[in-house]
Protein backbone atom coordinates (compact mmCIF):
# COMPACT_ATOMS: atom_id res chain seq x y z
CA UNK A 1 0.00 0.00 0.00
CA UNK A 2 1.26 3.43 -0.98
CA UNK A 3 0.34 5.98 1.63
CA UNK A 4 0.50 9.68 0.92
CA UNK A 5 0.18 11.48 4.20
CA UNK A 6 -0.52 15.21 4.27
CA UNK A 7 1.95 16.33 1.60
CA UNK A 8 2.77 19.99 1.09
CA UNK A 9 4.97 21.15 -1.76
CA UNK A 10 6.34 24.59 -2.56
CA UNK A 11 8.89 25.56 -5.19
CA UNK A 12 12.02 27.00 -3.60
CA UNK A 13 12.11 30.15 -5.66
CA UNK A 14 8.95 31.89 -4.51
CA UNK A 15 9.78 35.00 -6.54
CA UNK A 16 7.12 34.49 -9.19
CA UNK A 17 4.26 34.99 -6.81
CA UNK A 18 1.45 32.48 -7.06
CA UNK A 19 -1.61 32.08 -4.90
CA UNK A 20 -1.69 30.85 -1.29
CA UNK A 21 2.01 31.21 -0.39
CA UNK A 22 2.90 29.34 -3.57
CA UNK A 23 1.91 25.94 -2.24
CA UNK A 24 1.30 23.63 -5.19
CA UNK A 25 0.23 20.71 -3.02
CA UNK A 26 -1.79 21.60 0.04
CA UNK A 27 -2.11 18.69 2.41
CA UNK A 28 -2.65 15.87 -0.07
CA UNK A 29 -3.49 12.53 1.57
CA UNK A 30 -4.64 9.32 -0.06
CA UNK A 31 -3.86 5.64 -0.32
CA UNK A 32 -3.18 3.42 -3.29
CA UNK A 33 -4.18 -0.12 -2.23
CA UNK A 34 -1.95 -3.12 -3.07
CA UNK A 35 -2.70 -5.00 -6.24
CA UNK A 36 -5.02 -2.31 -7.53
CA UNK A 37 -5.07 0.41 -10.15
CA UNK A 38 -5.36 3.84 -8.62
CA UNK A 39 -5.95 6.80 -10.91
CA UNK A 40 -5.31 10.41 -10.14
CA UNK A 41 -7.65 12.64 -12.04
CA UNK A 42 -7.60 16.40 -12.18
CA UNK A 43 -7.43 19.31 -14.59
CA UNK A 44 -4.18 20.78 -15.92
CA UNK A 45 -2.31 22.65 -13.22
CA UNK A 46 -4.04 20.83 -10.37
CA UNK A 47 -0.73 19.44 -9.09
CA UNK A 48 -0.73 15.93 -10.55
CA UNK A 49 2.73 16.21 -12.06
CA UNK A 50 4.13 17.74 -8.89
CA UNK A 51 2.61 14.94 -6.86
CA UNK A 52 4.23 12.39 -9.18
CA UNK A 53 7.63 14.02 -8.91
CA UNK A 54 7.35 13.94 -5.12
CA UNK A 55 6.39 10.26 -5.06
CA UNK A 56 9.14 9.29 -7.50
CA UNK A 57 11.66 11.09 -5.30
CA UNK A 58 12.71 13.79 -7.76
CA UNK A 59 11.24 16.63 -5.73
CA UNK A 60 11.14 16.86 -1.97
CA UNK A 61 7.86 17.80 -0.30
CA UNK A 62 8.00 20.64 2.20
CA UNK A 63 6.04 18.62 4.69
CA UNK A 64 4.32 15.26 4.99
CA UNK A 65 5.21 11.61 4.58
CA UNK A 66 5.20 9.17 1.69
CA UNK A 67 5.28 5.52 2.68
CA UNK A 68 5.21 2.29 0.75
CA UNK A 69 4.20 -0.58 3.02
CA UNK A 70 5.97 0.35 6.23
CA UNK A 71 8.93 2.04 4.53
CA UNK A 72 9.32 5.80 4.53
CA UNK A 73 10.45 6.76 1.01
CA UNK A 74 12.07 10.02 2.10
CA UNK A 75 15.45 8.67 3.18
CA UNK A 76 16.03 6.22 0.35
CA UNK A 77 18.82 6.48 -2.21
CA UNK A 78 17.86 6.56 -5.87
CA UNK A 79 18.90 2.96 -6.27
CA UNK A 80 16.92 1.73 -3.24
CA UNK A 81 13.88 3.68 -4.41
CA UNK A 82 14.16 2.28 -7.94
CA UNK A 83 13.81 -1.22 -6.49
CA UNK A 84 10.42 -0.19 -5.02
CA UNK A 85 9.06 2.23 -7.63
CA UNK A 86 9.20 1.94 -11.41
CA UNK A 87 8.34 5.16 -13.20
CA UNK A 88 6.92 5.10 -16.72
CA UNK A 89 7.69 8.55 -18.10
CA UNK A 90 5.33 10.44 -20.30
CA UNK A 91 7.26 11.75 -23.20
CA UNK A 92 10.35 10.34 -24.66
CA UNK A 93 13.11 11.61 -26.84
CA UNK A 94 16.38 9.77 -26.32
CA UNK A 95 19.37 11.47 -27.97
CA UNK A 96 20.71 8.24 -29.44
CA UNK A 97 18.86 5.52 -31.37
CA UNK A 98 19.15 2.74 -28.79
CA UNK A 99 17.50 -0.55 -29.68
CA UNK A 100 14.31 -1.50 -27.87
CA UNK A 101 16.26 -4.21 -26.06
CA UNK A 102 18.86 -1.75 -24.78
CA UNK A 103 16.11 0.60 -23.60
CA UNK A 104 14.33 -2.13 -21.63
CA UNK A 105 17.68 -3.33 -20.26
CA UNK A 106 18.08 0.11 -18.64
CA UNK A 107 15.28 -0.91 -16.28
CA UNK A 108 17.86 -3.18 -14.64
CA UNK A 109 20.10 -0.28 -13.57
CA UNK A 110 19.23 -0.54 -9.88
CA UNK A 111 20.11 -4.27 -9.91
CA UNK A 112 23.49 -3.83 -11.57
CA UNK A 113 26.51 -2.96 -9.38
CA UNK A 114 28.29 0.35 -10.01
CA UNK A 115 31.40 -1.19 -11.54
CA UNK A 116 29.67 -3.71 -13.72
CA UNK A 117 27.70 -4.27 -16.91
CA UNK A 118 24.43 -6.21 -17.28
CA UNK A 119 24.70 -9.95 -16.65
CA UNK A 120 22.95 -12.86 -18.33
CA UNK A 121 20.30 -12.63 -15.59
CA UNK A 122 19.59 -9.03 -16.53
CA UNK A 123 19.33 -9.97 -20.18
CA UNK A 124 16.91 -12.78 -19.27
CA UNK A 125 14.75 -10.42 -17.18
CA UNK A 126 14.71 -8.03 -20.13
CA UNK A 127 13.63 -10.76 -22.55
CA UNK A 128 10.92 -11.87 -20.13
CA UNK A 129 9.59 -8.32 -19.82
CA UNK A 130 9.58 -7.87 -23.61
CA UNK A 131 7.66 -11.15 -23.94
CA UNK A 132 5.24 -10.28 -21.19
CA UNK A 133 4.25 -6.98 -22.81
CA UNK A 134 4.21 -8.56 -26.27
CA UNK A 135 6.88 -6.37 -27.84
CA UNK A 136 9.59 -9.01 -28.21
CA UNK A 137 9.39 -8.66 -31.99
CA UNK A 138 10.63 -5.06 -31.68
CA UNK A 139 13.74 -6.19 -29.77
CA UNK A 140 16.31 -5.10 -32.36
CA UNK A 141 14.51 -2.01 -33.70
CA UNK A 142 15.75 1.49 -32.84
CA UNK A 143 13.50 3.04 -30.20
CA UNK A 144 13.47 6.28 -32.18
CA UNK A 145 11.90 4.55 -35.19
CA UNK A 146 8.84 2.89 -33.61
CA UNK A 147 5.33 4.30 -33.16
CA UNK A 148 4.09 6.20 -30.12
CA UNK A 149 1.97 3.27 -28.97
CA UNK A 150 4.91 0.90 -29.28
CA UNK A 151 7.12 3.29 -27.33
CA UNK A 152 4.65 3.42 -24.49
CA UNK A 153 4.57 -0.38 -24.37
CA UNK A 154 8.36 -0.50 -24.40
CA UNK A 155 8.46 1.93 -21.47
CA UNK A 156 6.06 -0.32 -19.59
CA UNK A 157 8.23 -3.32 -20.42
CA UNK A 158 11.18 -1.43 -18.96
CA UNK A 159 9.23 -0.81 -15.77
CA UNK A 160 8.41 -4.54 -15.62
CA UNK A 161 12.09 -5.41 -16.07
CA UNK A 162 12.81 -3.16 -13.11
CA UNK A 163 10.88 -5.66 -10.93
CA UNK A 164 9.51 -3.02 -8.58
CA UNK A 165 6.21 -3.66 -6.77
CA UNK A 166 4.87 -0.14 -7.40
CA UNK A 167 4.31 1.25 -10.89
CA UNK A 168 3.90 4.98 -11.52
CA UNK A 169 2.50 5.87 -14.93
CA UNK A 170 2.40 9.53 -15.88
CA UNK A 171 -0.41 9.97 -18.38
CA UNK A 172 0.33 6.70 -20.17
CA UNK A 173 -2.27 7.41 -22.85
CA UNK A 174 -1.61 11.04 -23.64
CA UNK A 175 0.17 10.51 -26.97
CA UNK A 176 -1.80 7.52 -28.13
CA UNK A 177 -4.67 7.03 -30.55
CA UNK A 178 -7.99 5.64 -29.35
CA UNK A 179 -7.16 1.99 -29.96
CA UNK A 180 -3.71 2.21 -28.39
CA UNK A 181 -5.10 3.92 -25.30
CA UNK A 182 -7.32 0.92 -24.65
CA UNK A 183 -4.57 -1.52 -25.59
CA UNK A 184 -2.02 -0.03 -23.22
CA UNK A 185 -4.38 0.21 -20.28
CA UNK A 186 -5.62 -3.35 -20.82
CA UNK A 187 -2.04 -4.54 -20.85
CA UNK A 188 -1.25 -2.71 -17.65
CA UNK A 189 -4.34 -4.08 -15.96
CA UNK A 190 -3.49 -7.62 -17.06
CA UNK A 191 -0.02 -7.43 -15.53
CA UNK A 192 -1.25 -5.81 -12.35
CA UNK A 193 -3.77 -8.59 -11.83
CA UNK A 194 -1.26 -11.29 -12.64
CA UNK A 195 1.63 -10.04 -10.51
CA UNK A 196 -0.22 -8.23 -7.77
CA UNK A 197 1.54 -4.96 -8.56
CA UNK A 198 0.33 -1.66 -7.26
CA UNK A 199 -0.33 0.98 -9.90
CA UNK A 200 -0.68 4.70 -9.55
CA UNK A 201 -1.36 6.60 -12.76
CA UNK A 202 -2.63 9.91 -13.98
CA UNK A 203 -5.22 10.10 -16.73
CA UNK A 204 -7.00 12.92 -18.49
CA UNK A 205 -10.05 11.07 -19.73
CA UNK A 206 -12.61 10.39 -16.97
CA UNK A 207 -14.13 7.62 -19.07
CA UNK A 208 -10.81 5.78 -19.15
CA UNK A 209 -10.48 6.33 -15.41
CA UNK A 210 -13.97 4.92 -14.94
CA UNK A 211 -13.20 1.80 -16.96
CA UNK A 212 -9.68 1.04 -15.87
CA UNK A 213 -9.33 1.97 -12.22
CA UNK A 214 -10.21 0.30 -8.97
CA UNK A 215 -9.69 3.48 -7.04
CA UNK A 216 -9.86 7.12 -8.12
CA UNK A 217 -8.34 10.16 -6.45
CA UNK A 218 -9.68 13.44 -7.68
CA UNK A 219 -7.44 16.45 -7.27
CA UNK A 220 -8.40 20.06 -7.54
CA UNK A 221 -6.01 22.94 -7.04
CA UNK A 222 -3.50 20.98 -4.96
CA UNK A 223 -5.95 19.23 -2.66
CA UNK A 224 -7.85 15.97 -2.78
CA UNK A 225 -11.50 16.57 -3.58
CA UNK A 226 -12.72 12.99 -3.37
CA UNK A 227 -11.36 9.46 -3.38
CA UNK A 228 -12.87 6.01 -3.58
CA UNK A 229 -14.31 3.57 -6.16
CA UNK A 230 -14.68 5.19 -9.60
CA UNK A 231 -18.47 5.21 -9.64
CA UNK A 232 -18.57 7.05 -6.32
CA UNK A 233 -15.92 9.64 -7.17
CA UNK A 234 -16.66 10.32 -10.82
CA UNK A 235 -20.08 11.78 -10.21
CA UNK A 236 -21.67 14.49 -12.28
CA UNK A 237 -21.39 16.85 -9.33
CA UNK A 238 -17.64 16.32 -8.76
CA UNK A 239 -16.77 16.47 -12.45
CA UNK A 240 -18.87 19.58 -12.94
CA UNK A 241 -17.05 21.26 -10.09
CA UNK A 242 -13.55 20.32 -11.19
CA UNK A 243 -13.84 20.83 -14.94
CA UNK A 244 -16.50 23.54 -14.91
CA UNK A 245 -18.54 21.74 -17.58
CA UNK A 246 -22.09 20.51 -17.76
CA UNK A 247 -21.74 16.77 -17.39
CA UNK A 248 -24.20 13.94 -17.21
CA UNK A 249 -23.34 10.38 -16.16
CA UNK A 250 -25.19 7.72 -18.14
CA UNK A 251 -25.59 4.17 -16.91
CA UNK A 252 -25.00 1.60 -19.58
CA UNK A 253 -24.64 -2.20 -19.17
CA UNK A 254 -23.49 -1.83 -15.59
CA UNK A 255 -20.87 0.83 -16.35
CA UNK A 256 -21.07 4.59 -16.26
CA UNK A 257 -20.44 6.79 -19.25
CA UNK A 258 -19.42 10.36 -18.63
CA UNK A 259 -20.93 12.63 -21.19
CA UNK A 260 -20.10 16.32 -21.45
CA UNK A 261 -23.00 18.44 -22.64
CA UNK A 262 -21.55 20.33 -25.57
CA UNK A 263 -23.63 23.06 -27.10
CA UNK A 264 -24.06 22.51 -30.84
Amino acid sequence: MLTIDNIYFTHHRGSNSSNDRGDILKGVSFEAPDGQMTTILGPNGSGKTTLFKCISGLWRPRQGKIRFGDRDLAGLSHSERAKLIAVVPQEHDPPFPYTVFDIVLMGRASHIPLFSTPSARDAAATEAALDRIGVAALRGRPYTKISGGERQLVMIARAIAQEAPLLLLDEPTSHLDFRNQILVLEKVRGIVRQRGLTVLMTLHDPNMAMQFSDHVVMIENGSVLAQGPPAEVLTAGNLKRVYNLDISVIRHNGTHIIHPEVKP
Binding site: L58, H78, E80, A86, D93, Y98, A109, F115, T117
Partner: protein, 337 residues
Amino acid sequence: MNEVKPKRILSLFILSAPFLVGWAALFVGAYGIAPLDILRFFYEALFDPSAPDVPEKAILLDIRLPRVVLAGLVGVALGGSGATLQGIFRNPLVDPFILGVSAGAAFGCALSVGFVPALPVQFPAFAFGVLSVVLTFTVARTQRDISRLPLILSGVIISAFFTALVSIVKFLVDPHKLQSIVFWLMGSFALADWRLAGVAVLGIVAGLIPVFIMRWRLNVMSMGDEEAKTLGIHVKRERVVFVAASTLMVSVAVSVSGIIGWVGLMVPHLIRMMTGPDHRSLVPLSMAGGAAFMIFADTAARSISNFDIPVGIITAVIGAPFFIYLMRRGGSESWGR
Protein backbone atom coordinates in the same frame (compact mmCIF):
# COMPACT_ATOMS: atom_id res chain seq x y z
CA MET B 1 19.40 -12.04 -33.94
CA ASN B 2 20.72 -12.09 -37.49
CA GLU B 3 22.27 -8.66 -36.92
CA VAL B 4 24.61 -9.85 -34.22
CA LYS B 5 27.26 -11.45 -36.33
CA PRO B 6 28.25 -8.66 -38.74
CA LYS B 7 28.40 -6.32 -35.76
CA ARG B 8 30.82 -8.62 -33.97
CA ILE B 9 33.07 -8.90 -37.02
CA LEU B 10 33.01 -5.13 -37.49
CA SER B 11 33.84 -4.64 -33.82
CA LEU B 12 36.81 -6.98 -34.01
CA PHE B 13 38.02 -5.14 -37.08
CA ILE B 14 37.77 -1.76 -35.33
CA LEU B 15 39.55 -3.13 -32.26
CA SER B 16 42.43 -4.40 -34.40
CA ALA B 17 42.60 -1.24 -36.53
CA PRO B 18 45.08 0.66 -34.32
CA PHE B 19 47.52 -2.25 -34.51
CA LEU B 20 47.18 -2.58 -38.29
CA VAL B 21 47.49 1.16 -38.88
CA GLY B 22 50.29 1.40 -36.32
CA TRP B 23 52.17 -1.40 -38.02
CA ALA B 24 51.82 0.29 -41.40
CA ALA B 25 52.87 3.64 -39.93
CA LEU B 26 56.20 2.14 -38.88
CA PHE B 27 57.22 1.62 -42.54
CA VAL B 28 56.45 5.18 -43.51
CA GLY B 29 59.16 7.76 -43.38
CA ALA B 30 62.19 9.25 -45.11
CA TYR B 31 64.17 6.20 -44.10
CA GLY B 32 62.73 3.02 -45.61
CA ILE B 33 62.50 0.04 -43.26
CA ALA B 34 61.37 -3.35 -44.60
CA PRO B 35 58.47 -5.11 -42.81
CA LEU B 36 60.61 -8.14 -42.01
CA ASP B 37 63.36 -5.98 -40.56
CA ILE B 38 60.79 -4.46 -38.23
CA LEU B 39 60.01 -7.92 -36.88
CA ARG B 40 63.72 -8.65 -36.46
CA PHE B 41 64.37 -5.40 -34.62
CA PHE B 42 61.47 -6.05 -32.26
CA TYR B 43 62.80 -9.51 -31.55
CA GLU B 44 66.30 -8.22 -30.91
CA ALA B 45 65.08 -5.41 -28.67
CA LEU B 46 63.09 -7.84 -26.55
CA PHE B 47 65.27 -10.95 -26.42
CA ASP B 48 68.69 -10.21 -27.82
CA PRO B 49 70.22 -7.02 -26.38
CA SER B 50 73.68 -7.95 -27.68
CA ALA B 51 72.60 -7.58 -31.33
CA PRO B 52 74.40 -4.84 -33.27
CA ASP B 53 72.89 -1.35 -33.30
CA VAL B 54 72.10 -0.11 -36.77
CA PRO B 55 70.59 3.29 -37.67
CA GLU B 56 67.33 1.71 -38.86
CA LYS B 57 66.88 0.07 -35.51
CA ALA B 58 67.34 3.34 -33.63
CA ILE B 59 64.94 5.11 -35.98
CA LEU B 60 62.35 2.42 -35.49
CA LEU B 61 62.64 1.92 -31.75
CA ASP B 62 63.47 5.40 -30.53
CA ILE B 63 61.72 7.65 -33.05
CA ARG B 64 58.89 5.99 -34.94
CA LEU B 65 57.62 3.52 -32.36
CA PRO B 66 57.23 5.99 -29.47
CA ARG B 67 55.56 8.40 -31.85
CA VAL B 68 53.05 5.79 -33.02
CA VAL B 69 52.43 4.69 -29.43
CA LEU B 70 51.91 8.27 -28.26
CA ALA B 71 49.58 9.10 -31.15
CA GLY B 72 47.60 5.95 -30.39
CA LEU B 73 47.29 6.83 -26.69
CA VAL B 74 46.16 10.37 -27.46
CA GLY B 75 43.62 8.92 -29.90
CA VAL B 76 42.35 6.60 -27.15
CA ALA B 77 41.96 9.59 -24.83
CA LEU B 78 40.19 11.79 -27.38
CA GLY B 79 37.90 9.09 -28.81
CA GLY B 80 36.99 7.69 -25.38
CA SER B 81 36.37 11.05 -23.77
CA GLY B 82 34.36 12.22 -26.79
CA ALA B 83 32.03 9.22 -26.51
CA THR B 84 31.76 9.70 -22.75
CA LEU B 85 31.03 13.42 -22.87
CA GLN B 86 28.46 12.99 -25.65
CA GLY B 87 26.68 10.43 -23.48
CA ILE B 88 26.86 12.44 -20.26
CA PHE B 89 25.61 15.64 -21.84
CA ARG B 90 23.21 13.67 -24.08
CA ASN B 91 24.49 15.76 -26.90
CA PRO B 92 26.00 14.22 -30.03
CA LEU B 93 27.68 17.48 -31.02
CA VAL B 94 30.12 17.91 -28.14
CA ASP B 95 33.66 16.76 -27.57
CA PRO B 96 36.48 17.88 -25.26
CA PHE B 97 37.55 20.51 -27.79
CA ILE B 98 34.07 22.03 -28.16
CA LEU B 99 33.40 22.00 -24.40
CA GLY B 100 36.56 24.04 -23.80
CA VAL B 101 38.46 21.30 -21.93
CA SER B 102 41.29 21.36 -24.47
CA ALA B 103 41.66 25.14 -24.29
CA GLY B 104 41.60 25.09 -20.49
CA ALA B 105 44.20 22.33 -20.32
CA ALA B 106 46.31 24.17 -22.90
CA PHE B 107 46.25 27.30 -20.74
CA GLY B 108 47.40 25.23 -17.76
CA CYS B 109 50.27 23.85 -19.81
CA ALA B 110 51.29 27.21 -21.25
CA LEU B 111 51.23 28.75 -17.80
CA SER B 112 53.45 26.05 -16.43
CA VAL B 113 55.86 25.99 -19.39
CA GLY B 114 56.15 29.78 -19.30
CA PHE B 115 56.39 30.52 -15.62
CA VAL B 116 56.67 27.40 -13.44
CA PRO B 117 58.91 25.03 -15.39
CA ALA B 118 59.60 22.96 -12.28
CA LEU B 119 55.99 21.76 -12.06
CA PRO B 120 54.98 18.82 -14.29
CA VAL B 121 52.64 20.33 -16.88
CA GLN B 122 50.01 17.63 -16.32
CA PHE B 123 48.90 19.05 -12.98
CA PRO B 124 47.99 22.56 -14.11
CA ALA B 125 46.61 21.07 -17.33
CA PHE B 126 44.19 18.89 -15.35
CA ALA B 127 43.29 21.69 -12.93
CA PHE B 128 42.40 24.12 -15.70
CA GLY B 129 40.73 21.39 -17.77
CA VAL B 130 38.40 20.70 -14.84
CA LEU B 131 37.88 24.42 -14.29
CA SER B 132 36.89 24.96 -17.92
CA VAL B 133 34.39 22.09 -18.05
CA VAL B 134 32.83 23.22 -14.78
CA LEU B 135 32.55 26.77 -16.16
CA THR B 136 31.03 25.55 -19.44
CA PHE B 137 28.53 23.43 -17.52
CA THR B 138 27.62 26.25 -15.12
CA VAL B 139 27.15 28.82 -17.85
CA ALA B 140 24.96 26.47 -19.90
CA ARG B 141 22.87 25.20 -17.02
CA THR B 142 19.50 26.82 -16.71
CA GLN B 143 17.25 25.71 -13.87
CA ARG B 144 16.99 21.94 -14.00
CA ASP B 145 18.00 20.94 -17.45
CA ILE B 146 20.94 21.49 -19.71
CA SER B 147 19.93 21.86 -23.32
CA ARG B 148 22.05 21.22 -26.33
CA LEU B 149 22.63 24.50 -28.08
CA PRO B 150 23.43 26.55 -24.94
CA LEU B 151 25.99 23.91 -23.95
CA ILE B 152 27.82 24.29 -27.25
CA LEU B 153 27.64 28.07 -27.12
CA SER B 154 28.98 28.20 -23.60
CA GLY B 155 31.77 25.82 -24.65
CA VAL B 156 32.66 28.24 -27.43
CA ILE B 157 32.75 31.12 -24.94
CA ILE B 158 34.90 29.30 -22.39
CA SER B 159 37.20 28.08 -25.17
CA ALA B 160 37.64 31.63 -26.46
CA PHE B 161 38.33 32.86 -22.94
CA PHE B 162 41.10 30.35 -22.25
CA THR B 163 42.53 30.82 -25.74
CA ALA B 164 42.81 34.52 -24.94
CA LEU B 165 44.57 33.70 -21.68
CA VAL B 166 47.01 31.52 -23.61
CA SER B 167 47.69 34.51 -25.87
CA ILE B 168 48.52 36.62 -22.83
CA VAL B 169 50.99 33.97 -21.71
CA LYS B 170 52.52 33.95 -25.20
CA PHE B 171 52.83 37.72 -25.07
CA LEU B 172 54.57 37.75 -21.72
CA VAL B 173 56.83 34.75 -22.07
CA ASP B 174 60.38 35.03 -23.38
CA PRO B 175 60.77 34.54 -27.17
CA HIS B 176 62.76 31.36 -26.80
CA LYS B 177 59.92 29.60 -24.98
CA LEU B 178 57.33 31.28 -27.19
CA GLN B 179 58.36 29.27 -30.21
CA SER B 180 57.93 25.93 -28.47
CA ILE B 181 54.56 26.96 -27.01
CA VAL B 182 53.27 28.05 -30.42
CA PHE B 183 54.38 24.87 -32.12
CA TRP B 184 53.04 22.66 -29.36
CA LEU B 185 49.66 24.45 -29.36
CA MET B 186 49.05 23.55 -32.98
CA GLY B 187 49.01 19.91 -31.96
CA SER B 188 51.92 17.70 -32.91
CA PHE B 189 53.67 14.46 -32.07
CA ALA B 190 57.02 15.67 -33.40
CA LEU B 191 58.48 15.73 -29.89
CA ALA B 192 57.42 12.17 -29.06
CA ASP B 193 59.81 10.02 -27.07
CA TRP B 194 59.49 7.20 -24.56
CA ARG B 195 59.33 9.57 -21.59
CA LEU B 196 56.28 11.36 -23.02
CA ALA B 197 54.73 8.02 -23.96
CA GLY B 198 55.24 6.85 -20.36
CA VAL B 199 53.52 9.95 -18.96
CA ALA B 200 50.65 9.45 -21.42
CA VAL B 201 50.21 5.79 -20.46
CA LEU B 202 49.95 6.63 -16.76
CA GLY B 203 47.51 9.51 -17.10
CA ILE B 204 45.34 8.12 -19.85
CA VAL B 205 45.01 4.64 -18.39
CA ALA B 206 44.08 6.15 -15.01
CA GLY B 207 41.22 8.03 -16.67
CA LEU B 208 40.28 5.18 -18.95
CA ILE B 209 39.67 2.57 -16.26
CA PRO B 210 36.66 4.17 -14.49
CA VAL B 211 35.10 5.15 -17.81
CA PHE B 212 35.52 1.64 -19.15
CA ILE B 213 34.12 -0.24 -16.16
CA MET B 214 31.14 2.12 -15.70
CA ARG B 215 30.41 2.57 -19.40
CA TRP B 216 27.00 0.85 -19.48
CA ARG B 217 25.67 3.45 -17.09
CA LEU B 218 26.21 6.08 -19.79
CA ASN B 219 23.25 4.52 -21.63
CA VAL B 220 21.02 5.21 -18.65
CA MET B 221 22.44 8.67 -17.97
CA SER B 222 21.93 9.72 -21.58
CA MET B 223 18.15 9.37 -21.03
CA GLY B 224 18.23 12.54 -18.94
CA ASP B 225 18.78 13.35 -15.28
CA GLU B 226 15.26 12.70 -14.00
CA GLU B 227 14.81 9.43 -15.83
CA ALA B 228 18.24 8.18 -14.80
CA LYS B 229 17.41 9.01 -11.17
CA THR B 230 14.14 7.08 -11.23
CA LEU B 231 16.02 4.16 -12.76
CA GLY B 232 18.31 4.19 -9.74
CA ILE B 233 21.39 6.13 -10.85
CA HIS B 234 23.08 8.61 -8.52
CA VAL B 235 23.37 11.10 -11.36
CA LYS B 236 25.39 13.86 -9.69
CA ARG B 237 28.04 11.56 -8.26
CA GLU B 238 28.45 9.46 -11.39
CA ARG B 239 28.58 12.49 -13.65
CA VAL B 240 31.46 13.84 -11.56
CA VAL B 241 33.34 10.55 -12.01
CA PHE B 242 32.82 10.49 -15.78
CA VAL B 243 33.64 14.15 -16.34
CA ALA B 244 36.73 14.01 -14.10
CA ALA B 245 38.02 10.85 -15.79
CA SER B 246 37.45 12.27 -19.29
CA THR B 247 39.08 15.53 -18.33
CA LEU B 248 42.10 13.68 -16.93
CA MET B 249 42.55 11.78 -20.21
CA VAL B 250 42.16 14.93 -22.30
CA SER B 251 44.45 17.06 -20.12
CA VAL B 252 47.21 14.49 -20.29
CA ALA B 253 46.69 14.21 -24.06
CA VAL B 254 46.91 17.99 -24.43
CA SER B 255 50.02 18.11 -22.25
CA VAL B 256 51.88 15.67 -24.51
CA SER B 257 50.58 16.74 -27.90
CA GLY B 258 48.91 20.15 -27.76
CA ILE B 259 45.41 20.91 -28.98
CA ILE B 260 44.10 18.32 -31.39
CA GLY B 261 40.47 19.02 -32.11
CA TRP B 262 37.58 17.19 -33.74
CA VAL B 263 38.78 13.62 -33.14
CA GLY B 264 36.56 13.28 -30.07
CA LEU B 265 33.59 14.46 -32.12
CA MET B 266 34.11 12.50 -35.31
CA VAL B 267 35.19 9.12 -34.05
CA PRO B 268 32.22 8.33 -31.75
CA HIS B 269 29.88 9.41 -34.56
CA LEU B 270 31.45 7.07 -37.06
CA ILE B 271 31.47 4.22 -34.55
CA ARG B 272 27.81 4.86 -33.67
CA MET B 273 26.92 4.66 -37.36
CA MET B 274 28.79 1.37 -37.72
CA THR B 275 27.99 -0.54 -34.54
CA GLY B 276 25.20 1.36 -32.78
CA PRO B 277 24.83 3.69 -29.80
CA ASP B 278 25.17 1.17 -26.93
CA HIS B 279 27.99 2.57 -24.79
CA ARG B 280 29.14 -0.92 -23.85
CA SER B 281 30.57 -1.19 -27.35
CA LEU B 282 30.72 2.50 -28.23
CA VAL B 283 33.26 3.47 -25.56
CA PRO B 284 35.93 0.81 -26.26
CA LEU B 285 35.43 1.02 -30.02
CA SER B 286 35.70 4.83 -29.93
CA MET B 287 38.97 4.41 -28.05
CA ALA B 288 40.27 1.97 -30.67
CA GLY B 289 38.91 4.03 -33.56
CA GLY B 290 40.41 7.20 -32.07
CA ALA B 291 43.80 5.52 -31.81
CA ALA B 292 43.69 4.25 -35.41
CA PHE B 293 42.55 7.63 -36.73
CA MET B 294 45.16 9.52 -34.73
CA ILE B 295 48.02 7.28 -35.92
CA PHE B 296 46.76 7.63 -39.47
CA ALA B 297 46.48 11.43 -39.23
CA ASP B 298 49.91 11.72 -37.67
CA THR B 299 51.50 9.53 -40.32
CA ALA B 300 49.86 11.72 -42.97
CA ALA B 301 51.09 14.82 -41.13
CA ARG B 302 54.70 13.72 -41.23
CA SER B 303 54.72 12.36 -44.76
CA ILE B 304 52.52 14.69 -46.86
CA SER B 305 55.32 17.22 -47.23
CA ASN B 306 58.97 17.53 -46.28
CA PHE B 307 57.89 19.30 -43.13
CA ASP B 308 56.28 17.81 -40.09
CA ILE B 309 52.86 19.47 -40.36
CA PRO B 310 51.13 19.83 -36.97
CA VAL B 311 48.58 17.02 -36.85
CA GLY B 312 45.97 19.34 -35.32
CA ILE B 313 45.78 21.04 -38.70
CA ILE B 314 45.02 17.75 -40.42
CA THR B 315 42.26 16.81 -37.96
CA ALA B 316 40.69 20.27 -38.24
CA VAL B 317 40.75 20.14 -42.03
CA ILE B 318 38.86 16.84 -41.88
CA GLY B 319 36.77 17.66 -38.81
CA ALA B 320 35.21 21.00 -39.67
CA PRO B 321 33.53 19.75 -42.86
CA PHE B 322 32.41 16.67 -40.93
CA PHE B 323 30.74 18.86 -38.32
CA ILE B 324 28.96 20.81 -41.05
CA TYR B 325 27.82 17.54 -42.59
CA LEU B 326 26.41 16.38 -39.24
CA MET B 327 24.61 19.67 -38.76
CA ARG B 328 22.99 19.61 -42.19
CA ARG B 329 22.12 15.96 -42.18
CA GLY B 330 21.22 15.58 -38.54
CA GLY B 331 18.48 18.15 -38.11
CA SER B 332 16.43 16.91 -35.21
CA GLU B 333 18.64 13.87 -34.75
CA SER B 334 21.70 15.90 -33.88
CA TRP B 335 20.20 19.01 -32.33
CA GLY B 336 17.05 17.56 -30.83
CA ARG B 337 15.01 19.94 -28.79
